[in-house]
């Protein structure tokens, strides 16, 4: 595991201080006093986290930051910047350039380490192994130290707080794994501490053990009421407290609340033109565990809001430049900032000013002359309200998302069911069609055989009793029966071309064409005809279906060129729009392109039966076969000068092969 933290700061005190804090948390600190040293270190070894001061003796921290971000191997390393609060512009510049977070000097080393850990975790980095930390809050020094000793002996890391206020601050900054809190304390008592913890989105899942007095009968009720996971009488043996703690830790969610890492610490933006006042506020609020960001003007505050997530804004009403009211109006107009609670500060005890301030959208109003305690309480109240709202919004969004997901799942399921039903219906229809075709092929032909056969028998056996007219009629009966037989066969072929399984393989189309040409020629050996068949034409297709295509097209060519003195029938390939297209060309009677639309439709004929006999199904079959191969078929002709039929057989895409 690499837990190396690069600490870049020109101050030896800061370097040593941070090094100690990070080392205590299990990281390996690497110290640099100058930009050059930092560059060397970054090029030399993998770094988990960079602590970067804005002001360096030989470089500008922000420029160095830019360099780090530009390099592929360090573009993703988490960077936490350090600078004095007065340099607001630096902070904005740093965050804009790609710093992950910013901590103002003076800083709390514990807070800096906690923030560093958060950043490393967010970047998917491995964290140094950390023991289970337990926060003990008790006003009795004796008991506190006894409990600390017992915890450390058992293997826990213990941190202690003497009162509820400090306890809450440590809970926020140190993120312990559990809390043991005394029920009876001056100031904030144990139940209140737990209640506040439960209200904090980042801490609410923290296991809490409440210690109660011995003969307090309502203790259990009050403990559970406040949201404690367990309660123990203070007189009980240390072992009982430890056992309760272990049980509470076991039943707690193993994973820390993810929102905690993302939400980060609670951050207050203080905006005032008086630097003195700013620092006063900062000190007070920092003591309460907040991270305080300072801005000396409204303009800088608005710039800061664009780059830094803020949980609460303290805004002075009277400032040079933009002024409090206008700043407030602009902040409330920013979609990303309008939900941040804003407390207006003013030196005036003026009813009208207060109303005016609230009129611009401020959430609260405090006189600067008030005690800081009032300010702290108001800030706490506003932040709690915001946490509630954030939490509610998060829950609402979660519910909405779940509802949406459920709806999507439902829709997908319905779609799948509908599709399955359709497929089943289609399959059933196909089976029906197949059964129909089968019985057509089988049963419709039998009567035709009888009509033809017995007509022939009549002609042979009863010839002397039939005159020429009678014999001619019988011949017509036979011709009609045979024609119907052909029609049935052609229809069956069309239907089979549409439903037969496509079995693609490498087909020698030239060889098929030659075989058909020989058959046609031998059906009329005396007819003068010339076949010109191109060699070596192959396709990735179903050989039986290709045979049907060529049977029909060459058969047509042979038929429609029969009235030509010398028929010339060609088979070859050409390129149309970049794809190979095969063609059959004849020098027969041709047809008018006005009727080309009818050509490939079943039962459509462009010539009379007397001129050229046919079923009107052949070209429909050709088209269906070509389309099943993903190709297309078309024709070109003019009356009296032959016809050319083209078709393509695209190579099947991998995976579509059946």
């Amino acid at each position: 595991m690499n837990g190396t933290v690069l600490i870049v700061d020109d101050s030896l005190t800061v370097r040593m201080d941070l090094a100690e804090a990070f080392e205590a948390a299990g990281f390996r600190p690497l110290l640099c006093a100058t930009g050059r040293e930092a560059r060397d270190a970054l090029g030399r070894e993998p770094i988990a986290l960079v602590m970067l001061d804005v002001v360096l003796p030989d470089a500008d921290g922000v420029e160095l930051l830019k360099e780090i971000r530009a390099k592929a191997q360090t573009s993703d390393v988490p960077i936490l910047m350090l600078s004095t609060e007065a340099e607001v512009a630096d902070r904005i510049r740093g965050l804009r350039t790609g710093a992950d977070d910013y901590v103002g000097k003076p800083y709390d080393p514990v807070y800096v380490v906690a923030r560093g850990r958060d950043l490393v975790r967010q970047h998917g980095g491995a964290l140094p192994e950390e023991g289970t930390t337990v926060l003990v809050i008790d006003d009795s020094t004796t008991f506190r130290e006894r409990l600390r000793a017992a915890l450390e002996q058992t293997g826990y890391t213990a941190i202690v707080a003497p009162d509820g206020q400090e306890g809450l601050r440590l809970a926020a900054t140190r993120r312990p794994n559990a809390i043991i809190v005394d029920g009876v304390m001056p100031g904030i008592d144990g139940s209140t501490v737990i209640r506040r913890i439960r209200l904090d989105a980042a801490l609410r899942r923290l296991p809490c053990v409440l210690l109660t007095g011995s003969d307090d009968l309502g203790a259990e009720v009050r403990a559970l009421d406040s949201g404690a996971d367990a309660f123990v009488r203070k007189e009980a043996d240390m072992q009982v407290i430890l056992a309760r703690l272990a049980a509470a830790l076991r039943s707690a969610p193993t994973q820390r609340d993810e929102a905690a890492g993302i939400a980060g610490p609670t951050r207050v933006l203080a905006v005032d033109d008086s630097v003195t006042y700013l620092h006063e506020i900062a000190a007070v609020l920092r003591a309460d565990g907040y991270d305080v960001v300072l801005a000396p003007s409204g303009e800088e505050a608005i710039d800061m809001l664009a780059v830094q997530p803020i949980d609460c804004i303290l805004l002075d009403l009277l400032m040079p430049g933009l002024g409090g009211k206008e700043t407030c109006r602009r902040i409330k107009a920013l979609p990303t900032a309008r939900d941040i609670p804003l407390i207006m500060l003013t030196a005036l005890e003026d009813q009208a000013a207060m109303i005016e301030g609230l009129g611009t959208g401020a959430d609260d109003y405090i006189s600067k002359s008030s005690e800081f305690d009032v300010l702290r309480a108001r800030v706490r109240a506003q932040i709690r309200r915001k946490h509630f709202e954030d939490e509610n919004r998060r829950i609402r969004e979660q519910l909405l998302r779940r509802e949406l997901e459920a709806a999507e799942a439902r829709a997908a399921r319905e779609l799948a069911e509908t599709r399955a039903a359709l497929v089943e219906e289609l399959e059933s229809k196909n089976r029906e069609l197949e059964a129909f075709s089968y019985s057509v092929s089988h049963d419709l032909r039998a009567p035709l055989r009888s009509i033809d056969g017995f007509s022939q028998a009549l002609l042979e056996d009863c010839a002397e009793r039939l005159d020429d007219k009678g014999q001619s009629y019988l011949r017509r009966v036979r011709a009609a029966a045979q024609k119907m037989g052909e029609l049935i066969d052609a229809l069956l072929q069309l239907s089979r071309a549409g439903r037969a399984e496509l079995r693609r393989e490498r087909v020698d189309i030239s060889a098929i064409a030659r075989a058909i040409a020989i058959e046609l020629q031998s059906s009329a050996p005396t007819r003068l005809a010339m076949f010109e068949i191109a060699d070596q034409l192959f396709a990735d297709a179903d050989p039986r279906l290709v045979r049907i295509v060529l049977d029909n097209l060459l058969g047509n060519a042979w038929k429609f060129a029969s009235t030509t003195g010398k028929a010339v029938i060609q088979f070859g390939a050409t390129h149309v729009d970049g794809t190979p297209a095969y063609f059959v060309r004849d020098n027969g009677v041709g047809f008018s392109m006005a009727y080309v639309g009818k050509l490939f439709t079943p039962f459509q004929r462009l010539h009379s039966e007397a001129e050229f006999p046919g079923t009107g199904i052949g070209l429909a079959t050709v088209r269906r076969i070509v389309e099943r191969h993903g190709g297309r078929a078309w024709a070109d002709s003019s009356v009296g000068s032959g016809a050319t039929f083209f078709w393509t057989l695209p190579v099947s895409k991998p995976g579509s092969r059946s």
């Binding site: 092929s441 035709l448 055989r449 033809d452 056969g453 017995f454 036979r478 029966a481 045979q482 037969a500």
Partner: protein, 154 residues
Amino acid sequence: MTHKNPIILLVEDNADDVELTRRAFEKANLLNELVVARNGQEALDYLFASGAHAGRDPDDLPHLVLLDLKLPLVDGFEVLRRIRCDNKTKRLPVVILTSSREDRDILDSYDYGANSYLRKPVDFAAFADAARQLGLYWLVLNEPAPRLRGSSRD
């Protein structure tokens, strides 16, 4: 075994087709006795001397079976299967004579052990020609399996 004209067993339910087949064989000068079975069960009874044909000599088998596929009661495939399963009849030449040209029927026929597959054309002249060639081949040119009385001990 007597040396009278070899018998042809025609398994066909359509009376017209029976008549036309008979006529086609006559025109081809094939003067064999044509035994007709109207359905699959009748064909099996004749071949195995059971049912209506219980008194028949079971060793007196036809020389050629012309078998339609679509038959009442027991269909052509079942008749073919039973013929091929029995030692006495397993070498009988069986020609499928049917209207169907479905791949499935052709494949199944050969799988069940048909010797030949012929589709009855609508044109009677073509049918007569087919019957002539068929008779010439199976009854004259083809050398049948030797017939051993009592059978299956060869």
